[in-house]
Symmetry: C2
Subunit: 420 residues, 2 copies
C-alpha cells in the first residue's frame, strides 16, 4: 500500500506572534498516525489570503490531504472561508441546514442569534459541508483532482470533536492506508550519548524497515522504534522482538515499555498494587497533585494534598516541628522528610511525595541558591530523599522537580513491589 501523506496548515497570526502555543497539531499527528496516515509537514501561516494560497499550493505538491485549522470564526480577521471559496473557484451560498444546526446549538447554550453568527451559514457551493457539533463554524471538505482539502475550527475542543467523529472516519473510507507502528521504551540512568554507545551494536543490527529515535527529557531518554507496513501485526511483532533484545542489554534501566507520562505509569502501578498516595508540596505548588489528577481514575489511589507555601502551614497542618524548621531551614532533608511523613499520616496513604526548594527568581542565598530543591518519597517503612539543583528558571525548577519526584516514586514502588 502506498503511504498517504497528510499536511497540517494552522492559520492565525496569534500562532506566529507566539500568543498561543499550537497544541492541535501534535494531537492530530497522534490520531492520524493511529489511522495509518503519515504527517508530511506542519506549516503555520498568517491570516493572509496569499500566504494561505501559497502554503496550500506547496502542500498539494507533496500531500494527498491538506487539513487546515483555524481562521474560520465570524469576525473580519478570519478569512479562510473566503480564501478557499476563491481558490476553488466557487461562490458562497446560503445553507438552510447549516443555519438550523447553528440555531439548535445557540438554543442549547441559551445564546441569541446575531448577524455575524447567521453569516456562518454562508458556505462554499462546491464542497461537502460537515456539521460542527460543538460550535457555530461549519467544516468544509473539498475533493478535487484526487486530493482532499478540509477546513476546520482552530478551537481545540471543536477540532478534536470534528476529527474524531467526522474527518478521520471519512479519510479512512476514502483512502487505503498501511499501519504505522510506534513503540517507545523509557530509559533512566543514561545520558543520551552514553545510551547510544551502550546499544550501538543492537542499533546497527536493526532491520532496515525499523527506525529508531532518541528523545531525551530530564532524567529519562525515550527510545522510539517505528515502522510502516501493510501488515501492522507483523510489524508490531518485529518491533516487540527488537525490544526484547534491548531489555537484555538495558535490564532495569528500562522504566516502562510505553510512551506514557510518568504520572500515568505511577497511577497504573498504584492501582495494580492497591496502594494510595498523597503529596505535600512547597516549591512545586500543586503541580505534582495536578499531574496525578490529570489521569482518569486517579481518585481510586490519590487521596489529597497539602500545598504548604508558608512555614506556618507546614507546622500546623503537616505537623513539621517549628524547631526542625528553625534548625535546618525549610529547604532541608529533615524538613522535606517530615513533610512527607506528615502527609502520609494525615492523609492515611501508603506513599507521600514532598518537595521543598527555592523555585526562584528570588529567595536564594549563597548556601542555598535558587534551584536548590529537596524531594522526599515516604513509603511504609521509611523515606527516600534526594537533593537537586535545577538552575535559575522558575518554570524549569517546577517542571523538573515534578519529573524527578515521579521518577523517585516509580523507583520506590518498583523496589517494594518486585513483580511489577
Amino acid at each position: 500500500m502506498r503511504t498517504i501523506n497528510v499536511e497540517i496548515i494552522t492559520i492565525g497570526d496569534e500562532i506566529l506572534i507566539g500568543q498561543i502555543v499550537d497544541t492541535n497539531s501534535a494531537w492530530m499527528g497522534v490520531e492520524l498516525n493511529k489511522a495509518g496516515f503519515r504527517i508530511a509537514q506542519i506549516t503555520s501561516v498568517h491570516d493572509d489570503a496569499n500566504h494561505i494560497v501559497n502554503a496550500l499550493n506547496d502542500a498539494l505538491k507533496r500531500a494527498d490531504v491538506v487539513l487546515f485549522t483555524g481562521g474560520i470564526g465570524p469576525t473580519k480577521d478570519d478569512i479562510t472561508k473566503h480564501t478557499l471559496t476563491e481558490y476553488f473557484d466557487t461562490k458562497l451560498v446560503f445553507d438552510e441546514k447549516v443555519l438550523r444546526d447553528i440555531e439548535e446549538l445557540l438554543k442549547n447554550r441559551q445564546r441569541a442569534m446575531n448577524e455575524l453568527t447567521r453569516s456562518q451559514a454562508m458556505v462554499p457551493e462546491n464542497c461537502t459541508v460537515i456539521q460542527n457539533p460543538v460550535g457555530t463554524a461549519p467544516i468544509t471538505w473539498f475533493d478535487k483532482n484526487e486530493k482532499i482539502v478540509v477546513s476546520m475550527p482552530g478551537v481545540p475542543y471543536e477540532m478534536k470533536t470534528a476529527m474524531t467523529t467526522e474527518i478521520i472516519p471519512r479519510l479512512k473510507a476514502r483512502f487505503k492506508t498501511p499501519a504505522i507502528v510506534h513503540r517507545n521504551v523509557l530509559v533512566t540512568g543514561y545520558p543520551e550519548s552514553a545510551l547510544a554507545i551502550k546499544i550501538a551494536d543492537w542499533e546497527n543490527a536493526l532491520p532496515a524497515d525499523i527506525h529508531i529515535a532518541y528523545l531525551p527529557n530530564y532524567g529519562i531518554v525515550k527510545l522510539r522504534l517505528s515502522g510502516i507496513s501493510d501488515d501492522g501485526l507483523s510489524m508490531d511483532f518485529a518491533i516487540k522482538h527488537q525490544i526484547e533484545g534491548l531489555k537484555e542489554i538495558l535490564g532495569k534501566a528500562i522504566v516502562y515499555e510505553d510512551d506514557w507520562p510518568l504520572e500515568k505509569i505511577a497511577g497504573y502501578w498504584l492501582t495494580e498494587t492497591n496502594q494510595s498516595i498523597a503529596t505535600a508540596e512547597s516549591c512545586t505548588g500543586g503541580n505534582i497533585a495536578h499531574k496525578i489528577t490529570s489521569v482518569a481514575g486517579s481518585s481510586t489511589y490519590f487521596k489529597g494534598s497539602v500545598i504548604a507555601y508558608s512555614n506556618d502551614i507546614k507546622t500546623r497542618i503537616l505537623g513539621v516541628s517549628e524547631e526542625l524548621i528553625s534548625t535546618h531551614g525549610a529547604v532541608s532533608r529533615e524538613v522535606v522528610e517530615a513533610m512527607a511523613t506528615g502527609a502520609q499520616n494525615l492523609l492515611k496513604t501508603d506513599y507521600a511525595i514532598a518537595t521543598s526548594g527555592i523555585a526562584g527568581p528570588d529567595g536564594g542565598t549563597s548556601k542555598k541558591p535558587v534551584g536548590t530543591i529537596w524531594i522526599s518519597v515516604a513509603y511504609k517503612g521509611g523515606t527516600y530523599s534526594k537533593l537537586f539543583n535545577f538552575g535559575k528558571l522558575r518554570e524549569q525548577n517546577i517542571e523538573r522537580s515534578t519529573q524527578a519526584a515521579f521518577l523517585m516514586l516509580l523507583e520506590q514502588i518498583k523496589l517494594i513491589n518486585r513483580d511489577l
Copy 2:
C-alpha cells in the same frame, strides 16, 4: 525601515508524529517580535535531508533569516549538521575551542566524555560557531548571500539561553528593524460575535496601520491591536489612544489591559491590596494552586492549599460536616462553600477558591452528569458561588474550571477593591 522576515523551521519526527508539542516556536515568536522581527512562517519537518533542504530553499525565498531548532543531538537520527554542511558546500572540521567548551560543561556536570559527545566538536568549516553555554551541541551561524541561517538545539532551555544571550543580540546588530507593537485587552461577558457587533463602528474607524484580532478563550475574548512602525513610541501611543475609545464602549467588561494570564492579574491585584489567598480543590486537583504558584513572587500572597479528593479529607482537614456531604452530596453549593470557608479559616487568608465537581470520564449520574462543577470564592463577609457544566472531557473540565475560578476571583477582588 523594511520589515525583516524570520522563518522558524523545527526539525524532528517527534513533532510530526505528535510525541511532543512544539512550545519553542511560540516563545521565539514573542521574543523576536519584541526585537522587531516579523515571523513569516513556522514549518515543522522530518529528520530527513531532502525535506530539510526543500524547506530551507522555500524559506529563503521569503525570509531574511531562517532559524532551525532541533536535530543536532549526537545520535544517528539527528542529521541537521551534516545536511547544512552539504547544503553550504563545506566540510566538517575539528574545533579545539568547541571541545574545550564541552569538556568544561561535562566537568561541571560530573559526566564523562565519550566518543559521541566528542564528535560534537566537529563543526562546518565556513560558519560562525557559537558556544552553547548549557549543552554539548554547538550553535552554527551561516551568513551567505545577505541571508542568515542558524541551527540551534531543540531542547527548550538550551534554545532559550542561546536565543537570549547570542542569537537575538547578533540579529539586532546585523539588521535594522522597525518596532512591532502589540497591545491586548481582555474582555468578559461577550461571545466573540456579539463583541464584534458591539464594537463594529469603533473597529471600522481604526487607522489602516493598526490591525485587530479576536482571540476567544473560555469566558474571555482577547482583543489584540497590532502595528509596525519605525517610531515605536508613536505607534504605541496611537494604539493606546484606540484602547481609550474601546474603554468608553466596553466599560467594566474590560478585565485587564494586557495579555497577562488571569493568575498573574490576580497576583498583581492581591499584592497591590495586600491580601492573601488559599485554595481547596477537589475536581481541579491542584491545578489552581499550580497556576497561582507559577507566578514569580506568589509566596507573598499565596499561603497554601488543601487538595481534598476524598470526602474524609474534606471533613477532617477542611471541617466540612459529614452531614452536609451526605445531605447534599460532595458536588453541591453547600459543600463547595463549606470547603471555601474551611480553607479560608484553616489557612488564615482573605480569599479562598474551592472547586467540587465531576471531571470524568466516570462518576457522573443522571442528576449530576460528568462536567457538573461547583466553584466558590470565599471573601471576608461571604461566598460567591456558581454552577457550571463544561462537558465530558476530563482535561477540558479541569482547564475550564480553573479559568472560571480565576474569573470569579478577579470579579470579586474588583468588587471589594473598587479603585483597582
